[in-house]
């Protein structure tokens, strides 16, 4: 009987460092992940190679069984399940538990182990977190112990629930370039006065929590604001802050309301040069 053809061998670790790293950068995403689980050395090698990946998104959907990670490469999308231990992954999703079992590190939470490993070995150009449900003890979510800085945080529950002010404070204390917020908040006395640190703010749902006094002075890096249901007086105040040269990078402000804003309220005290289109 003929023996099956054996895989050709290649002594990767005998190559110079720069060459090993170039080879790793040419691997497919999943191959690089598998390779990184082989030993401490291989894990460090993928890390050193600075393998660039388009994005990683953490999705906490309206049902915890649908929690997953989406990893986008130049030509592929990998959806990795992060569901609870006793729930098999939804059809079409890659099994995160199985991937985590390949990683030889102790951890009490497989989601944490897998996420930490991915963040260590790959160089993600963008990362974001999408929260679409009320998460009990939000500040204890596994992800925050690995990462507190994101390109984008979407807090956009699909079912309406009232956000606790400590949860909102926690979400806004994370670092993100973009915040997309859409939640209900019924504490009319609470005002958020801390700098947001973001460049793009989008707020739908409740807005009374946002203190607009000196808002642009507190957030000088703001480039784009899009807010629904902000009272006209506050819009007028924001326009005046903008006009006074706060947040010089700000190039877009959009406000939406059920009925049109009265022009004399929005532009009170602001001289507008009318331009006639020809």
């Amino acid at each position: 009987m003929e023996e099956p053809p054996r895989n050709p061998k290649f002594g990767l670790l005998k190559c110079p460092f720069a060459l090993r790293e170039q080879i790793v950068r040419n691997m497919e995403f999943m191959d690089a992940f598998h390779f990184s689980t082989l030993s401490k050395r291989s894990k460090q090698l993928v890390h050193n190679a600075k393998y660039s990946v388009t994005s990683i998104d953490f999705m906490f959907g309206n049902n915890s069984t649908n929690d997953h990670i989406e990893v986008a490469t130049d030509d592929d999308l990998f959806i990795i399940s992060l569901s609870k231990l006793n729930v098999p992954p939804r059809r079409g999703l890659l099994d995160g538990l199985k991937f985590a079992s390949l990683i030889n590190e102790p951890s009490d939470d497989y989601r944490k182990k897998l996420s930490a490993h991915l963040f260590f070995i790959f160089d993600f150009k963008e990362n974001s977190v999408h929260i679409e449900r009320n998460i009990e003890s939000l500040s204890d979510l596994f992800l925050w112990s690995i990462r507190k800085t994101f390109h984008c945080i979407f807090f956009w529950p699909t079912r309406s629930f009232f956000m606790k002010h400590e949860d909102m404070q926690f979400v806004l204390s994370l670092e993100s370039k973009t915040y997309c917020l859409n939640f209900s908040f019924n504490n009319s006395n609470y005002k958020y006065r801390e700098p947001l640190g973001c460049e793009h703010l989008e707020v739908h749902g409740s807005i009374q929590w946002l203190d607009t006094d000196d808002f642009l002075k507190l957030n000088p890096n703001m480039r784009r604001i899009c807010i629904k249901n902000l009272p006209g007086e506050q819009i007028n105040d924001l326009i005046k802050q903008w006009k006074n040269g706060e947040a010089i990078g700000l190039n877009h402000m959009a406000f939406f309301y059920g009925i049109p804003y009265p022009e004399n309220l929005i532009l009170d005290g602001i001289i507008v040069m009318e331009t006639k289109l020809t």
Partner: protein, 188 residues
């Protein structure tokens, strides 16, 4: 040294056909250099083809060798096997003065030679060929399981790495002790 001249005939540049003869710039004769590998077989390669190699290009820039001087002073690459150098020379000739395509079908297909080829190409700093070679090495493990990757790329386990490290330390300690003893002996 055995000396066979190879790799030039197929790579001769095409004659210009559009410009009238009277208006054409005087043709500069192409210069050639000679390289040999571990087997001492000498390959004659044009300067144009050698431009692919940043290392050799740097060596020959402003060298101003005559044909005789170049022939008498082949560049020795004792760390490269003869057949590997032949592959590299062939590739350089095939791609002389041409933009390299995104997928190269002219790469040698023998996987067992790939390790030596990639090391040679890395040493000679042939950027485009190195890119293709690295891609080919990476493709060796495409879709393989972790344990298959371990086998193909000969990746030791953590335990094996630790054992090897211990052994290396032990050896280094012994060598240092030997050197100290020898130095003490010399001092006496």
């Amino acid at each position: 040294m055995s000396s066979t001249e190879q790799g030039t005939s197929s790579a001769a540049p095409a004659e210009p056909t559009t410009a009238p003869e009277s208006a054409a710039a005087p043709e500069v004769p192409e210069s050639f250099y000679y390289v040999h590998g571990k087997d001492k077989v000498v390959h004659k390669v044009s300067a144009g083809a050698l431009q692919h190699s940043a290392l050799i290009h740097g060596m020959i820039s402003n060298l101003g060798y005559t044909e005789e001087q170049a022939k008498a002073n082949p560049f020795p690459f004792e760390n490269i096997d003869g057949d590997i150098l032949q592959m590299v020379v062939d590739w350089c000739n095939q791609h002389k003065g041409k933009p390299t395509p995104p997928e190269d079908t002219n790469l040698p297909k023998q996987k067992e030679k790939l390790f030596d080829l990639v090391l040679a190409v890395n040493y000679l700093e042939i950027k485009e060929l190195l890119t293709y070679c690295c891609k080919q090495v990476a493709m060796m493990v495409k879709g393989k399981s972790p344990e298959e990757i371990r086998e193909i790329w000969m990746i030791p386990t953590d335990a094996e790495d630790e054992a090897a490290e211990k052994e290396a330390k032990k050896r280094a300690g012994k060598e240092a002790a030997g050197e100290t003893a020898a130095a003490a002996g010399d001092a006496k």
